[in-house]
């Protein structure tokens, strides 16, 4: 039987990890509502089996792996045109804050969003984990269920594609 203490522990983890999952999923799928579904699905699976999974060293990392797999799967099957996702993103960003700052933020976000849409789902996931979550390559490999050299390839190609999409040239220093 689930106890109040079990639920309190889950609630604490949820409040800590869920916003990160949402951001991560959003970077991969490119849509706020879909990201919400992905993050909720991962957390639902965690909660449904909380008595067992709470004994893991890092149950939050387990949920993150579930969310990444689901987000990559959704992205691979996505039919939403990239332009639609970008438009939604701009509306979201510009919905808060003063108009000038929001427009500037929207422009930056839109550039990156458009660039991200040129990457494969696995490249998006690797880039998001590296740049958004600041995870080391070894941990990204664990999350993506591949080895570290594969992650480096994803990051290298992803970064090169992003630079091209953003109209920048990579130098040796980059």
């Amino acid at each position: 039987m689930r106890t109040m203490a079990d639920d309190a522990d889950f609630d604490e983890l949820f409040r800590r990890e869920y916003p990160r999952l949402r951001r991560l999923a959003h970077s991969i799928v490119g849509d706020g509502e879909v990201a919400r579904e992905v993050a909720q699905e991962a957390m639902t699976r965690l909660y449904a089996d909380w008595r067992r999974l709470s004994k893991l060293e890092r149950p939050g990392a387990w949920a993150r792996r579930v969310a990444i797999r689901e987000a990559v799967r959704v992205r691979e099957r996505a039919t939403v045109p990239a332009g639609t996702a970008a438009r939604l993103s701009v509306e979201w960003v510009s919905g808060s804050g003063d108009a000038g700052a929001a427009q500037a933020a929207a422009a930056v976000a839109l550039d990156v969003r458009r660039a991200l849409s040129t990457l494969s789902p696995m490249q998006r996931a690797a880039v998001a984990l590296y740049y958004l979550e600041d995870l080391p390559v070894e941990e990204i490999a664990d999350d993506l269920d591949c080895d570290a050299s594969t992650v480096r390839v994803h990051l290298s190609r992803g970064r090169r594609n992003l630079a091209a999409a953003l109209g920048e040239e990579l130098t040796n220093d980059d």
């Binding site: 949820f14 959003h26 930056v108 660039a115």
Partner: protein
């Protein structure tokens, strides 16, 4: 700014996370969904045990069919899938209404009472999540106390997650034909004990069966027994079907009891079997409506899904399935004109409504509008001379109320 800095900044700005209130709402959703997963697993374990017993020749096989996965068509992982499984498609009935109390709690930010909560605390929660529920004479959840429900039916409000209703009265059969399907967390043993101990109705109680599914019946079909009690305000004994621990049905007639059982077992067509109807359901559910009225799609006719997302502000959700892409574009244009511009001699709806999401996809038009008026939402829509939306010729969904 280096490419790495630009990427970090862009990702951070683009992938904004939820705010505190949204996190709390989503936590409620996750806990509700996770609880359902656990119950389904428990049900599946019971089914496996039943299979073993059948192999051993010890029990009947009828238990197994109740655990089979429904073949209702869904284009996504729908929370409403379970409750629509026993909802039969009845000739002459235009559609159905759904009240989702779990989604209502999420939408208004209500927190479900703990197991040790008092009746008063549970009643306060129920008041919050059922704000859109009309008072009625058929299973009047709005006005019943927890004790009254427990006495006559063996469960109470806090166990009910969502409810779907249809009214088949006046479709060529004499008598009152109303059906409510309830999804939640029910204990069949507690229900059995309650109906057998009911001081007023237990004398009329019979257990009968249809297609291998037992159900409780009180008196002849639609017979008024002249005993008016809190649940049976019309004095009709009714029929109660306990499909499993998550789904029960309450109806005034044998016809609908048997139709619901047949829908549950797959022997009868269901509203949700139809692809266009399912797309309307998906369009409304995926926009987190806590109340919805869905018109059953018919060949060559347009159909409407109409939902309400309670909260501040309240949101109106519209989904219209047209007969052709051209008709969908025209309907979308009419809706936009009515809301944003008005007609030449009319007042636009924009004083109280604002379109926040709009989508035309083939024959499907879906829109989300915020409502900031003081009157009840349905009054605000129906009181204008220019209708906000119109659709072609399909019968209006009959919502009997609870």
């Amino acid at each position: 700014m280096t490419i790495d800095e630009r990427l970090r900044e862009g990702l951070r700005l683009d992938a904004q996370g939820p705010d505190g209130a949204e996190i709390e709402r989503d936590l409620l959703v996750v806990r509700a969904r996770g609880g359902r997963v656990r119950r389904r697993r428990a049900g599946a374990r019971m089914a496996v045990a039943a299979v073993v017993l059948v192999v051993m020749g010890l029990v009947a096989t009828s238990l197994i069919g109740q655990e089979e996965e429904t073949n209702v068509t869904t284009s996504r992982d729908s929370t409403w899938k379970q409750i629509l499984r026993p909802l039969p498609r009845i000739e002459g009935v235009g559609g159905f209404a759904i009240q989702d109390f779990v989604q209502g709690a999420v939408n208004v930010g209500a927190r479900k009472p703990s197991e040790g909560a008092t009746d008063e605390e549970r009643a306060a929660y129920w008041d919050q999540v059922s704000s859109g529920l009309p008072a009625g004479t058929f299973l009047p959840l709005k006005t019943l106390s927890a004790e009254q429900l427990r006495t006559e039916l063996g469960f109470e409000h806090s166990q009910v997650a969502r409810m779907v209703t249809i009214d088949a009265s006046g479709t060529g059969r004499p008598g009152l034909h109303r059906l409510a399907i309830l999804e939640g967390d029910f204990d069949p043993e507690v229900i059995e004990a309650a109906v057998k101990a009911d001081p007023v109705w237990s004398a009329q109680l019979e257990t009968t069966a249809h297609s291998g599914v037992d159900y409780y019946a009180w008196g002849d079909d639609s017979m008024v027994i002249e005993k008016r009690t809190p649940v049976r305000t019309l004095g009709i004994g009714g029929r109660l079907i306990v499909f499993d621990r998550t789904t029960v049905a309450w109806t005034t007639s044998t016809f609908l009891a048997e139709a619901a059982i047949d829908a549950w077992t797959g022997a009868q067509d269901r509203f949700a079997d139809d692809t266009r109807t399912q797309e309307l359901i998906d369009a409304v559910e995926s926009r987190h409506a806590d109340w919805a009225s869905i018109t059953a799609a018919q060949p060559g006719k347009s159909a409407l899904g109409f939902g309400v997302h309670s909260g501040s502000p309240t949101e109106l959700i519209l989904a219209l399935h047209e007969v052709s892409p051209n008709a969908a574009e025209q309907a979308a244009s009419s809706l936009r004109t009515a809301v944003e511009d008005g007609r030449t001699d009319e007042v636009a709806y924009r004083d109280q409504f604002a379109i926040t999401q709009f989508e035309v996809n083939g024959t499907l038009v879906a829109a989300r509008l915020t409502y900031t008026g003081d009157r009840p939402l349905l009054d605000a829509i129906s009181a204008r001379r220019v209708p906000m939306f119109a659709f072609d010729s399909a019968p209006t969904a009959r919502d009997p109320g609870p």
